[in-house]
Symmetry: D4
Subunit: 216 residues, 8 copies
């Protein structure tokens, strides 16, 4: 287990991270961590390693692209002084090309995505003990699907930046593969983006594997 006693883990992202977390900062009682993978991650860590006293904070925000993360990076990441940080961003960056194709001012192209994400990671890497980069994903098994195809390209950018910066890398798209052999996407995610409890558990397990979580 890579996290150490009293570490603070901040998890940032879009609606897949958000899941109705509390505002302005998602932590504390009464479901403040939201209903998604962040809550599962925190539950499994604290149930398994209560002695570590890990503090989990959810700062995912629905609809966010990497440019939105940049806008709130100071208050929602730097000011929170995390020991560990996870980032999962890019779904909306890609999706807007497909669901509102005419609104090109809402599309984040791959160059902008890469440049922005790299800056955020490079700026933050020295400030934290650990940084986990999770790819965006699309719960569509057909790799020729246009949106899946583009999502894979953005995922490759994440992998590249993780390698450059010595961050831990989580390939969420790959994590969905086994379940997509057994189930059609509509079972996991009504719109192929927002997962049900099974999909969120897949994300949580992929993250936990990266930090050497040990199920006891």
């Amino acid at each position: 287990m890579k996290l150490e006693k009293n570490n603070k883990l901040v998890m940032i992202g879009d609606s897949v991270t958000d899941c109705e977390r509390s505002r302005p900062i998602g932590e504390g009682l009464f479901g403040a961590l939201g209903k998604g993978y962040v809550s599962i991650v925190d539950g499994l860590i604290n149930a398994t390693y209560p002695e570590l006293q890990i503090r989990t904070v959810n700062v995912g925000t629905s609809g966010n692209t990497v440019l939105d993360l940049q806008d709130r990076w100071q208050t929602d990441v730097i000011d929170l002084k995390p020991d560990w940080l996870s980032i999962m961003i890019g779904i909306n960056d890609v999706w807007r090309h497909f669901d509102v194709p005419h609104q090109n001012e809402r599309h984040v192209d791959i160059a902008t995505y890469e440049k922005t994400l790299r800056e955020l990671v490079e700026q933050t890497r020295p400030l934290v003990k650990g940084l986990v980069l999770m790819t965006p994903f699309y719960i569509e098994p057909n790799p020729q699907d246009a949106m899946r195809c583009k999502m894979d390209q953005y995922g490759a950018v994440v992998k590249q930046i993780a390698e450059e910066t010595g961050s831990l890398f989580v390939d969420t798209q790959a994590a969905f593969e086994p379940v997509l052999q057994a189930y059609y996407p509509a079972y996991i995610a009504w719109d192929r983006v927002h997962p049900n409890n099974v999909g969120h558990t897949i994300l949580a397990k992929a993250f936990l594997k990266a930090i050497d979580f040990n199920w006891k």
Copy 2:
């Protein structure tokens, strides 16, 4: 892993099981399994063993005692034809002695509790492939506390019935011990009964251990 391909797992109980599940039967899309341990169990099983195609059904109902289970046993258990069944009941049976001490018609004494639970288990054991009995619990570390003390007695009844009937046994009270060494009860459960995400994960892990779930 004791569950087999296409098995249907029905989980019954009180508000700790319910957690805002769908009505009349808690299964399907959009959080139908509720926000508690049933959802975590289902998520972990289907994320880990998607090929087993396990079907999970939540029929917990807030406020229920063992007498309420008896009233709806035909429709909510027998008619659903489960392969596996889990039962976690007794918290309200005990609690009402303490929070509404004058309303003795709402108290389920230990003899009634034992007799009723035994009848339900004995009647159902032959109909299912597996039956899991989970103790009620009280998230209070002091074993001299009056309500904790009584809860332990009801838990002992569950253990006894499990042994008699060859059911799997889950000691939820014991499962909370390690976390109660690290945390005060108010962190796990505002009222020492309704757990947060960490507490529900503890319940889910205790159940999964009983069915030989293997974290991969």
Copy 3:
């Protein structure tokens, strides 16, 4: 234009037809026809042929399969004494195989679908001046996709029954092809099932073409 003066057109189906129509019968003022293709069809007919005094009635119901139509056929079709009837059913019959794969009691297999739809059409054909059968559809361009594939099979059943019974036939799946060459599915329908205004216009145009509507 096949419809004649004072004809009553009843349109039945599932949520794609329903679109928040009024209850119990969808007709009259204040958006009673709902927000989907039924309203567009009625608008175009009455704006273009006001002298025909066509009466349109929407009896679509969200979530319905062909078995649900059968249950309410007497009150929602026969009792309304339509001159013309349109039927578009089958999306949920197929979809439930994929989004709730374990709940097989909610799956309508193709044999049941065919038998039930044929009975309804054969029973009703003699009672009406015209009957229009519209295929179910799935806004997914990949014909190898598992759910699209099955939907096409159900669509073929509709075509077969239309031919047998001398009903007009509308291939809605084919109608979506041109727009799917220009747009990704998420633009037309967030979940590949419930269309936006463009998708509903495609459905309306396909229906209108079948009844020889002439845009003036």
Copy 4:
């Protein structure tokens, strides 16, 4: 078809245009274009000419007069950089003389109406590829009716400005004539102003005719 590939069409007006569009700008998913003629226009264009990739934007605002348009012209028209612009304004300018006759500060007299509308059109005509001026209307067949009479005068102003500025002209009042021979106004519009689906289709068809839309 006068609109060309990737053109952006902005439609401004009052409540007849608004119809519950999204704020601040009406475009995108989930019914953002509202429930009126703008949605029908967009639906028919994109269903018929998907390859043109036309982007439609609704900036109608309930209750607006031409003076309100002037106030928000910079942000709601100029800043949006439309290729094509449609304007339908004047109903409230006229109506307030009749429904709140004592509140003369809310009446827009015909001189003010003409001067303001001309300025807006002249200022904007050079910035766009096409500009469509639609008359206000009143769904009352009796031309001697006092309010219909005044509305016709405002409509004549629109025609005059369209001719002066080389804008396309849509006579919406005339478009309602055929349907008013077949139906009483209360069928089309409860208050003779806000149309039902048939009335909005009439408006959409009148607009589409002006831009040489071809129903295929």
Copy 5:
């Protein structure tokens, strides 16, 4: 003043009478008489003749035609044992021909209207001390307007029945004439049917004149 000490006045009708009265019977405190002419009538009578102790009851129901009155005549008129009864019905009987022209089962033709109203009046006349028949109305000054024209015919039926049965007669349509010379209909009633405070005062004054109310 024709009403005498302790008389009970029951007023029945449609939405113009109803105006959000209390259910099931409109009488008592807190605006139970609704916001329309019934409240004004009661206010003026009790403010002017408090010593008469007049009891007013509103049993108007929105959307009613004369056939609906017939259905509830026993409970809402006979059982209440009125000393005086007023009836104003017919607006919906006429209106439905125009706003839902295809739904002919909702149209009450003039023969049915006359027969039904005559039966109700003849049956009730012997049971009460006074009976006031008020015409339906349409706040449209043009007597050639199709709906106004038909409304006048139904009004003539009311006059005929009043004369036959010795009932007091109130010509509400005539009562609106002076105000329609000064104001456009939209000032009095947004939809030419449901009056504002001025229109309801006109109705109240017309009724009060018929019962020889004397403003002191």
Copy 6:
């Protein structure tokens, strides 16, 4: 009738005047004048003298004392440029002495009341064609009642100021006398302050008598 063609009548006061009027200024369609005497006054004037085209404006505000009127006098009276103005204030000035006896900062003593009201009237009298001063009232028949007694003293101040300034004077307390001989206060006003429809009609009639309204 003292009001003349096109006169604007502004009526200011407290909750008895307010009665859910529109904000910020109470005039126009859809019950904007509220449900109290202002609406009745406007209804009777415009129903009886439609040719005068009287414009009525309600600027009563619940809870106001004379000090609150002073605070908003510029915007709610002067800026509206009334031809006629009515003022009915003082109920809360008195009432707070009795219902919140300890909160003396909320009590308006009679000297402050007199000084403030006189200033407002003297300042405004030259700006208007007519000014009507209405006393506050308390619907309690016993003149020895402590609150009634004090209310009468404030009423006497109003009379004095009316005489000094040549304003029309309305003694609302006296107007309630006849009805209080026939009815107990609870029938007119649940709390002896907020009248029902009968009480508001009494107020309206008292006002109308002062301006020589003639019921025709």
Copy 7:
């Protein structure tokens, strides 16, 4: 203290007793006893004599007269098997004569009141250990006030029945006298009927005095 260990005290009445108690029976957690004197009585008894384990039940119902009590006496009193019973009824029996003077079917005259209350008390007296009769009251200091006067007569009936049946008697009207010398009624009860916290404390103290409660 007259109540003994484990006694059950049922308190029945109208809205003064009800005060938003739980349904169908007012007892248990979360404010189930309502916000009035019942809650204060229970609070003071259990805070002062916790060892007595007194169980308090509120079955007051807003708007009730003695006739309504009679209708629900079996379920709401007899079936609950009280050791002690308190009854405070009569306010609505009297009030309806004054606030809805024309609705005489809602008035309970004094003979009916006396007969009904006597029957209930006589029937129940043998079934309970103690019975407390509380007079209705009217928070009006003037004994000549018409409603106060009538209320005193009903109060006298209660006293008479208490004496006949050996019930404890609480003169609530007298209990309000001292506070009415210091405060105007509007401070205690906005409408002279529904008390604030001070008024409810007066009622609670009067009741407690009757049962020999001793403040320690």
Copy 8:
């Protein structure tokens, strides 16, 4: 009785004091004092000593710690010019250590608590006639319980400051002892913090005893 005629009593604290009081200042009609001990205190004082005309003000605010009191001390205490002041604070200061153990920025340690409370008391003591310091409490009978233990330490601080400053001291924790011998905590307070009516009465009685209240 230590309070004197016309004294103003201000009571400040956290949610136990707040109990849904009015905003911004809790005083006046309609339950403005909230549903807790402040309302009971005020009710008992004014019902027992109406001639003293005591004014009670509730400025408790849910969730407050002593640091929050400090922030609003000027507006919520000093500006209100109390004659008497009561302070009950510290529950949240302690609780946050236990229910959100990782959020140490929300913990108020005992040194900070003592320093801040002392400053507030010392600053205010000279400004008031009487000052009552009430300990925070935890409704848990086991003195070895970790949170109870810490609460007792904070309570000891309050006692120390009371002695230093000549303030009246109320030991609320001790006041709960007798009732905790008869009842389990869950009867008094669901979460061992927020009392029911019995618990609030205990608090009120403890306060009243300190000011020499005499139950008559």
